[in-house]
């Protein structure tokens, strides 16, 4: 290329020289160290006082399999309840009515502020407060009969989850452009229809990633329901180790199952996210 100016001498042409790639010694040493430590830890685990035979034997016994099914059933149902509640509460918080707003804020505060285990125990032991539940004159039932471990776990986990989900939902609703609500109103939609058909599907994009995290958290939180005799996988593992004293081995069995479930959920979440990104591909806001 002609630059129209004479160039100074004394600067050699380097184009022919090969460039030696700089070895990132530091990085590779760090990586090697980490791998080494991992290998050591692995070896120690294999050789330690943990009897892997027990882990293998109990990994697929019926009680454990039944437990993991129960865990999943509970997590799915509680998440459903949590999403429904979270949605209602999020809408309440955004409503102009101060009472609804206050109740919604109070709900979030109370249930996020107290340990889940306490909530589970309170639901399970509701009969201490309400021996009988019902609509006076119409229908009533003894609370202990109504409040099975299943129902208590569902209420405890679901209502607690609702408090967290309401915050996620609120952020999601706020993320949708206000113009969308006006456009829905302009074609004659009421509040509810606009919410369900226009606002929510768009909010899902923002809501799904944190909701995925919440669901993974909930799968693990289900283990707390073992204190109220809900037969989830940790409960099953405990029952086995109370009998045979193989505490760590059985906990590893439960841990492996949780790990499997979480590993399956992550790609599922991706799929759902792609589904709700419909039309947003190149929105380029």
């Amino acid at each position: 290329m002609s630059s129209g100016r004479a160039l100074a001498e004394g600067f050699p042409d380097l184009t022919g020289l090969p460039t030696a790639r700089r070895a990132h010694w530091g990085r590779w040493i760090a990586a090697a160290l980490i791998l080494g430590v991992l290998a050591l830890v692995g070896r120690a685990f294999a050789q330690g006082q943990i009897e892997w035979a027990y882990v293998g034997r109990f990994l697929t016994v019926p009680v454990i399999l039944h437990g993991i099914v129960n865990t999943l059933v509970m997590a799915v149902l509680a998440m459903g309840l949590g999403i429904a509640l979270g949605l209602v509460v999020a809408v309440m918080r955004l409503s102009p009515n101060p009472v609804l707003k206050g109740v919604a804020a109070g709900y979030t505060w109370l249930f996020r502020g107290t340990p889940l285990i306490l909530q589970l125990l309170l639901w399970f032991n509701l009969a201490l407060v309400f021996p009988v539940i019902g609509i006076p004159g119409l229908w009533s039932a003894k609370s202990v009969e109504l409040m099975t471990p299943f129902l208590a776990a569902l209420l405890g986990l679901g209502i607690n989850q609702g408090a967290y989900t309401s915050e996620v939902m609120r952020a999601g609703l706020l993320s949708v452009d206000a113009g969308q609500f006006e456009a829905a109103q302009a074609i004659g939609m009421g509040r509810l229809k606009a919410l369900s058909r226009i606002i929510l599907p768009q909010a899902m994009r923002v809501v799904l990633p944190p909701l995925g995290n919440e669901f993974i958290g909930l799968v693990k939180a289900t283990s707390l329901a073992s204190v109220i005799q809900y037969p989830e996988v940790l409960h099953a593992a405990e029952n086995i180790y109370y009998a045979n004293s193989r505490v760590i081995e059985l906990l590893i069995v439960a841990g492996l199952w949780y790990l499997l479930v979480v590993s399956i959920l992550t790609p599922l979440q991706m799929l759902l996210e792609r589904r709700f990104a419909r039309g947003a591909a190149r929105a380029g806001r």
């Binding site: 032991n125 009969a127 201490l128 202990v144 005799q229 109370y242 009998a243 004293s245």
Partner: protein, 256 residues
């Protein structure tokens, strides 16, 4: 008098302390005084007496039930003295020096005394007990023998306090606890509970010591025998209302 002390493993003899796991959730065997937070109970008194006999101090290590056996395996503690039932299934990890006889016993709410008069009236009813114990199996065995095709429905609870909470709500009809604990519990909430019949099985409660620590096992057994001989043991039984449950002599691995 010198014999049990001589059996102590050298390491313990040198340090002068024995580390003992205890789960203070089983009054009157062991619990924390709600007022002071102090560890107390029959096991605590017995342990201290054993220690005195052996000329060592007991270092109590509070732990959780799930954590007791691992603590023994890892050497975190030298032994468990925590109202632990001597079971054959546990002999793989521990050898037991038994110091009490006890038995799981049904109890119900006094309010339902008219309806639940004797043990057989529990057939077809719900009975709860801590799932951490051997009681589930014993209830099943008893039900098998006495109820035939109308068996007792077992409900596993998180512990005996939980079992009582459920009994109070009427979630279960009867609860089962070791009979050594019943007098104390009934004293806490007078006029609430009623013991039903006799214990449904007989078990030993023992000090769990790692299988290979034979020296410590001998020392403990010897010390216990000494306490039985000099009357200290009897006095402790009386203090904690456990006279029904005493043994005549230390038993090794008496559990089935």
């Amino acid at each position: 008098q010198e014999a049990p002390k001589a059996a102590l493993p050298p390491e313990i003899a040198r340090s002068g302390t024995i580390k003992v796991a205890i789960v203070p959730n089983y009054p009157p065997m062991e619990f924390k005084d709600p007022a002071t937070g102090q560890l107390t109970g029959f096991d605590v008194d017995l342990g201290d007496a054993l220690g005195k006999t052996l000329g060592v101090k007991l270092a109590w290590q509070e732990t959780s039930f799930d954590q007791m056996m691992p603590a023994l395996s890892t050497g975190r503690v030298d032994m468990i003295l925590s109202g632990m039932t001597d079971l054959a299934t546990r002999h793989e990890t521990a050898t037991f020096v038994d110091y009490l006889r006890s038995g799981p016993q049904f109890f119900v709410r006094k309010a339902r005394a008219g309806e639940l008069k004797d043990m057989t009236s529990l057939c077809g009813k719900k009975a709860g007990a801590s799932r951490r114990t051997s009681f589930p199996r014993e209830i099943a065995a008893w039900s098998e023998q006495n109820c035939k095709d109308n068996p007792v429905v077992f409900v596993g609870t998180e512990g005996s306090a939980d079992a009582r909470t459920q009994l109070k709500q009427g979630r279960i009809d009867a609860a089962v606890q070791g009979n050594e604990t019943l007098p104390y519990v009934m004293g806490l909430e007078p006029d609430t509970y009623l013991a039903l019949g006799t214990p449904i099985a007989l078990q030993y409660t023992g000090i769990a010591i790692p299988v290979k620590e034979t020296g410590l096992q001998q020392a403990m057994a010897g010390a216990l025998d000494a306490l039985i001989a000099d009357g200290t043991y009897k006095a402790l039984l009386e203090k904690w209302k456990l006279t029904e449950n005493g043994v005549d002599k230390a038993v090794i691995n008496g559990g089935k």
